[in-house]
Amino acid sequence: MESQLLIQALVNGIMLGMVYVLVALGLTLVFSIMEVINFAHGEFYMLGGYTAYYLIAQLGLNYFLTIAAAVVVVGFLGWMIEKLLFRPFRKDLLGAFIVSLGLVWVLQSAAMLAFGSLEKSVPSPFRGVLKVLGIYFSLERLIVTVTAIVLVAALYLFIQFSREGRAMRAVAQDSDAAALQGINVARISSLAFAVGAGLAATAGVLIAPLFFVSPFIGDLPIVKAFIIIILGGMGSIPGALLGGLILGLAEGVGSIFLSIPAVNLLGFVIVMAVLLVRPRGLLGHA
């Protein structure tokens, strides 16, 4: 029984970690390309949650089609937000910080007006449990984990092997040199915002049936994502994956022994410990 508890905590931790990673990837991608942090990134996750509520709970749409819809709609919103709000603040950390705080407020208020401030619940599309080697796993949590892993892998392949992915890496490494190869840096920035927003929205859809949806659910994942990218190294995609898994596992196992507030502090403790030894994060470049 003891080991059953521990294994389930680990599996839960991996699921949570992968969902955090989906949010963190956009944050780190945008940082690597524009050198700004968008604190309103959690709002893309929140909008993903509402997409799940309206499409799954209200219209009864298929789970995976809902994910696709969230990627398209919230991705487009991310594209427009970069174009209209963040473009003038490229490489201006402070200016972008102020813009993004304003955006948090605007998007949360808009969500309150449009969707109401009551918590909404989304029915679980996958009921049942899976028994493997005598241990029970929730089917839903497995599907969330696998979907997240597939998306992280897809992003990796896109960045590593596609023409636009290579352009993103080029801009991240030297934006002037990238422009001199004919890469439209502004368009690549929009693309990074769109991809990041789409991934965060997917995380919102995945998690919606497990928790509930409200205008403020983006606040927690943005903090987790921020912890993860500092832990893994700002701008590093493998770093975000590693940081997310560490945080998820620590929280999963921690939740057996600790209270919820203590679990939420765990991430900060890990980050501070890592930064003391390695100021650029686990996989960050100097």
């Binding site: 030297d174 002037d176 040199a177 422009a179 001199l180 190869q181 004919g182 890469i183």
Partner: protein, 234 residues
């Protein structure tokens, strides 16, 4: 082919270029020499759109380009090998070359040009899966030039390609520049190594504190007393 008229460029309040005018004809190598801080790099950055001029006009093949963004200037046929090489250090040699061909749609002709690049720069072929940041200075310079050529430019801007390199490597860079020019690519060569630049170029401009102080055929400048004293070490 390229015509720069009355260029003025500011960095904030600092006036880096006061009045620069220059012409590059088709098939020419034109040198731009001058002391550190004279405005050579700024001139090239203005031509390739990385720095927006305050005043003046830049024309390329009959088209005004001084308000175009850099990626659009690559598209009209100008390649720029920037000062300090500026490779993508965490990308492989091959990926750097592919980045140079970013705008080209035809996969077959890009593949042919990759092969050509590897013929022209055999060191790059041997190291094509290596990260660009791990190459030696000379290899990095070769890669920066090869990367720019992957965009098939008709005009190539070279900013201090010999900087910090051993004499033997400088000599091979010089012969590569001649080779590229021999294939019909016009070249603007910026150098502090004035002797090398004047030997390669047919004409040259001498920049002093943001202005063209002297211009003329390289032979005449090599014989000029002022140039000899200030730029050729007596």
């Amino acid at each position: 082919m390229l015509s720069v008229k009355g260029l003025r460029v500011h960095y904030g309040k600092v006036e880096a270029l006061k009045e620069v005018s220059l012409e590059v004809g088709k098939g020419e190598i034109v040198a731009l020499v001058g002391a550190n801080g004279a405005g050579k790099t700024t001139s090239l950055r203005a031509i390739s759109g990385l720095k927006t001029p305050t005043e003046g006009e830049i024309w390329f093949e009959g088209r005004r380009i001084d308000r175009l963004p850099p990626h659009a200037i690559v598209r009209v046929g100008i390649g720029h090998v920037p000062e300090g090489r500026r490779l993508f250090p965490h990308m492989t040699v091959l990926e750097n070359l592919k980045a140079g061909a970013y705008l080209r749609a035809n996969g077959d002709s890009v593949r042919k040009d990759l092969e050509r690049a590897f013929e022209q720069f055999p060191v790059l072929k041997a190291r094509n899966r290596q990260k660009a940041g791990t190459l030696s200075g000379g290899e990095q310079q070769m890669l920066t030039i090869a990367r720019a050529l992957m965009g098939r430019p008709r005009l190539l801007l070279l900013d201090e390609p010999s900087l910090g390199l051993a004499p033997l490597v400088v000599a091979s860079i010089a012969s590569i520049i001649k080779e590229i020019n021999g294939e019909g690519v016009s070249i603007v060569l910026v150098e502090q190594n004035a002797r090398m630049a004047l030997r390669l170029a047919s004409r040259a401009y001498v920049l002093e504190t943001g202005r063209v102080a002297l211009e003329g055929p390289s032979g005449a400048l090599l014989a000029d007393e002022h140039v000899k004293k200030v730029y050729l070490g007596g």
